[in-house]
Amino acid sequence: MTGGVTSSLGEPNPIAIAGFFVFIALSLGITYLAARRTRDAEHFYAAGRSVTGFQNGLALAGDYMSAASFLGIAGLVALSGFDGLIYSIGFLVGWPVVMFLIAEPLRNLGRYTFADVVAFRLRQKPVRVAGAMGSLAVVAFYLIAQMVGAGNLIRLLFGLSYDFAVAVVGVVMLTYVLFGGMIATTWVQIVKAVLLLLGAFLLAVLALVPFDFNPLMLFEAAAERYGGGVLAPGGLVSDPVDAVSLGLALMLGTAGLPHILMRFYTVPDARTARSSVSYATAFIGIFYLLTFVLGFGAMVIVGQDAIRGVDAGGNMAALLLAEASGGAGFLGFISAVAFATILAVVAGLTLAGAATLSHDLWVNVARSGEVSQREQLQVARVSSALLGVLAIVLGILFEGQNVAYMVGLAFAIAASANFPALLLSVFWRAFTTRAAYLSMLTGTGTSLLLIYLSPAIQVDILGNAAAVFPLRNPGIVSIPLAFLVAIVAALAWPEPGAARGFDEVERRVHLGAADPV
């Protein structure tokens, strides 16, 4: 390895490979059991609505704690200290928003996708087509981030070629989704969440051994070695407007991520949806606090130069720390956990994308809702297969992209395209079909356009001297614009039928569908 670090990263690690196969065998076992229970669309998309609050909390946390945040944030903390905390907090504060505004109404109004809720009292086709564009854009960006991360990680860990690694991830996760649907995806997610929390906890404990298990002594050691600057805000937030823009996208984007929203349909009722967010927020918060300790542990125990020597972005910090404090065996365990993490998140994304393609576009737009159970399930599986292939292709095409940045963009699109329409549809009587689709198209279009015009594409990738749009994250423009378009359109073109339908929305938000009134 460069930088004079002794690390076995890049050489085949027997424990990592064994752990990797144990996880695959375990998850295929789950898939086999789940496949026998996956009889109809209700099972394929929503696990038969039989998941408990605690299980769903773990599954939500599993969907959210991607390898990008485990490796990326630990790396960011290891290289810049305090600044990494800013990201962690941004990812966490989206959950209260999901809890207060979205989770329960979503569970009570929809069946499989968030567009069910938006389209509830509006004209189905235009709303679902516009909703699908936003959802698919989010899923595509998020998939790119995960696949690129997976390819790099596996190449580093096992010495496999990048393309082969991406293909392996695509094929394995597609097996879960195709045969086991949401039941398998949920259980894979739960197993992975437990492994990841356990792995992060053990790693943090090991890293704290030399510091009498006192994180403050670790932070103090970091400040002694790298200066007090590591405990203070540094260069990450150099432009306040950009910082607020990213903050808005992270905070509101969580409530617009299709694969997260879809999980609320797997529980039996709104009360369980509520308890699942409590569990998820607790797990995710603990995870990010642990990540903060891991980052500082890597900074002190491994050293910043050594971390940069292996990967300039710092993405391997957590793994180097695992090796430095627990030996090659522990590195193998943490590597297998990171691999499991990627597989599970990619499976969740693929299922959410497939629900959009089949339930929104095929069943409700192309066939106007007149579809047999058998056909629904077939179309869902074909859509999953298409998305699986797409994931592999995207992963290979976008090799070398910055993983954390792509995730940030997925959040910006989710916050602009999906969140405003979803919120207004359950909140505002005067909301209309036209307002919904114009808002979703504006949110998707503006965020994509501004991303293209941003310095990250114009300067960093295309090599232009300056960018037309100065911010790296479009949220501060695209989110308010999507709200504004919705409000103006609804006031300019009222839709009396949609307003009348709001009485039923209001009743369902609180009383749910099961109520016979």
């Binding site: 403050l216 932070f219 405990l231 607790a282 938000v509």
Partner: protein
């Protein structure tokens, strides 16, 4: 008719709670971000060995998210669920 008035009351109460808590969370989080942007030296103040004001406030934002969720769940599990059950029973 009375049931529909009760539903309106419940609806108003739920959204008041939801919007109030969301606004609190946003104020805390963006307050923190603005401090990070404009108060860098302040946040770098050491409160003790190894602990800066910024790190303490950052951890407190996470704790605040937990506390706000706890407040909501407590309210929903008692007041809100009871009101929903009463509405269901009557209509």
């Amino acid at each position: 008719m009375a049931a529909s008035d009760d539903l309106k009351h419940l609806d108003a109460a739920r959204w008041r709670m939801a919007v109030g808590l969301t606004a609190t969370m946003m104020a805390l989080y963006f307050g923190f971000i603005l401090l990070v942007a404009f108060g860098k030296p302040l946040l770098g103040t050491l409160l003790g060995p190894g602990l800066s004001l910024g790190m303490l406030l950052g951890a407190l934002v996470i704790v605040a998210a937990w506390v706000l969720i706890w407040i909501y769940v407590r309210w929903a599990n008692t007041h809100y669920d009871r009101a929903v059950a009463a509405l269901r029973g009557r209509s």
